[in-house]
Amino acid sequence: MDQKFSSRTAALPLLLQGMMVPVALLAALFYPTTNHPAMLISLTGQSPATAIGWGRAHGAALVGLSIDGRTANLRLSSAGSALAALRSGFLPLAADNGLCTPEGFDS
């Protein structure tokens, strides 16, 4: 009885832990750290120009555009961190993975 109760009690934490592992793996892959390029995907349908404007406002330098030209890549700063971008409606993803190309750079 205690064993079953213990198993039931442990099930939720284990489930959460099991969910944390892929989240951690994905976060380790796609979380953009400061001073590294990040691709800002608009969650609200904003244009890349808006993202670039946000970057200028937060000190994040424009690195380039995505291959399809619909997403801006910016080098995040401490003031314009990934969390700040997220709060502004952009999903920042690390861009060291080749999702962007130098050819797409638009100075």
């Binding site: 213990s6 198993s7 442990a10 934490p13 284990l14 959460l16 832990q17 099991g18 944390m20 592992v21 989240v23 951690a24 793996l25 976060a27 380790a28 892959l29 796609f30 979380y31 750290t33 400061t34 001073n35 590294h36 401490s78 961190s81 990934a82 969390l83 690390a94 060291d96 993975n97 080749g98």
Partner: protein
């Protein structure tokens, strides 16, 4: 089994500690870089193993979850090192954490970690090759990494399998040993219980013996190895019963003897006291007798002196009597002379009477003239007659005096003889008195010796009286002790000292 669980729980705790260390390092690193989300993610990842370690949950699912979590630690650390030049070094934590899973002694967490690591690397190869491969995605290199991970994982799985088997084998051996020890312990407890039962019965019997119950026996047989003890206890009870019987009789005798000794001692004390009083009285009497004898000796001496004086007086009296005798002789001679003179007077009286008669005759012839003369002649004749009568009386008196003198002379002679005998007797008396004085002195000396001896005897008697008092006290104490001993022995009650040995021995058997 418990040992394996303990080992695995200990491994989970070590991994939890590593997770906490990684979280703290990541927090510090994040603070340095100004990046906290990955550090928070590491903290959340570490929370799972910490919770398992604290709750003591180390079942298979938990272990697999821990195995899957460790590569996530390495992935976060690698992500934190992104762009710092340490990313390749941080990849080594995958292999280190994979090896750490050997602490769980199970292949499943290793497999889970291997799968997660492989997925991470493949995902990394295809999604973010620049993190690890500066030249872009390289499947061959990813496969090489996978092979390295698989080789390590294979080695770890073999190691864990052997370790699990070893621990289980050890646990099984320990269990068997524990079972054997339990069996031995049970046997030992059984033996101990038998010993306890035997000791309880022996203890009860000994307590009964201490309480004075001698005629009871342990009738219920003991186990074979302790049967000799039961027989020994029963035999001891029998012997003790006989011994107590003998002691009781001896104590009765001692009590009787002590009472007699006490009575005799009391009598002896009384007699000694009386004897002491008598001896004291005898001593006083002897002392008085000694004084009296010395007084008697003095009296004898005085009597001797008195008798000596009396002897001297008697001798003087004898001399006086001699003088009396001579005086009496002279009186006798004087009497004879007086008689002669009286005869002369008587003759003169006769002649005078004749003359007077003649004168009367002549006067008568002279007539009246002669009448006066006749009266005178008559008177002369009367005087002559009275003189003759006086002479006759004197003669008679002289004769009587002579007789008296003769008688006195004889009596004086007799007195002289008596005095001579008295002198002789005085000498004898003197001799006797001297002997009596010597005897009295000697007797007084001897009585003094007797008195001294009686004094010593009195001292000795007093010492004897003291010793008798001590003996009496000792006799009383002996009597009391004997009574106490009888009471003590009597505590054994009516345990029959008269019990026959054969009966007791048969009961003991």
């Amino acid at each position: 089994m418990n040992e394996l669980q303990t080992l695995r729980l200990r491994g989970i705790r070590v991994i939890a500690a590593i997770g906490v260390a990684c979280a703290l390092a990541t927090l510090g690193w994040g603070a340095y870089l100004g990046e906290y989300p990955l550090a928070m993610l590491m903290l959340l990842l570490a929370a799972g193993p910490v919770w398992l370690a604290m709750s003591g949950n180390a079942d298979t699912l938990s272990r697999c979850m821990v195995g899957a979590t460790l590569p996530a630690f390495a992935a976060v650390l690698t992500a934190m090192a992104r762009g710092s030049g340490w990313i390749v070094d941080m990849h080594m934590t995958f292999f280190a954490f994979l090896a750490i899973l050997a602490l769980l002694a199970e292949w499943r967490p290793v497999a889970a970690a291997t799968i997660i690591t492989a997925a991470h690397h493949l995902l990394l190869n295809f999604a973010a090759p620049l993190y690890v491969f500066p030249d872009g995605p390289d499947l061959a290199r990813a496969l090489f990494h996978a092979v390295v991970v698989l080789v390590e994982a294979g080695a770890l799985i073999v190691l864990c399998t052997h370790l699990e088997a070893f621990v289980l084998g050890q646990a099984t051996k320990r269990l068997k040993r524990a079972e054997q020890e339990e069996s031995v312990r049970a046997e030992r407890e059984a033996v101990t219980q038998r010993q306890r039962d035997v000791l309880d019965k022996v203890g009860q019997r000994l307590q009964a013996l201490a309480g004075g119950v001698l005629d009871d026996r342990i009738d219920e047989p003991f186990p074979d190895e302790y049967e000799a003890l039961r027989l020994a206890v029963n035999n001891t009870s029998t012997e003790l019963q006989l011994l107590v019987g003998s002691v009781t009789r001896a104590v009765d005798g001692v009590v009787t003897g002590a009472s007699e000794i006490r009575s005799a001692s009391d009598d002896l004390a009384q007699r000694t006291e009386r004897d002491a009083s008598s001896v004291e009285q005898v001593a006083r009497t002897s002392s008085g007798l000694n004084t009296d004898m010395r007084g008697a000796a003095n009296l004898c001496q005085e009597a001797l002196e008195v008798t000596q004086k009396m002897k001297d007086e008697v001798e003087l009296g004898q001399v006086t009597i001699d003088s009396v005798t001579e005086a009496m002789t002279r009186i006798e001679g004087s009497s004879s002379k007086i008689g002669s003179i009286v005869e002369i007077i008587d003759g003169l009286s006769f002649q005078t009477n004749l003359l007077a008669l003649n004168a009367g005759v002549e006067a008568a012839r002279a007539g009246d003239a002669g009448k006066g003369f006749a009266v005178v002649a008559h008177e002369v004749r009367q005087l002559a007659q009275r003189s003759a009568e006086a002479a006759a009386s004197i003669k008679t008196l002289i004769a009587a005096s002579s007789d008296e003198v003769d008688q006195g002379t004889r009596q004086v002679a007799q007195m002289e003889q008596v005095l001579a005998r008295i002198v002789q007797n005085f000498a004898a008396v003197n001799t006797r008195i001297e002997e009596l004085a010597r005897s009295s002195t000697q007797t007084a000396t001897e009585i003094g010796g007797i008195s001294s001896a009686i004094g010593k005897l009195e001292v000795s008697h007093q010492q004897n009286a003291a010793m008798v008092e001590q003996s009496s006290a000792a006799a009383h104490a002996l009597t009391d002790l004997a009574e106490d001993l009888r009471v003590s022995v009597g505590r054994f009650g009516d345990s029959a000292p008269t019990h026959h040995r054969r009966t007791a021995m048969s009961r003991a058997a």
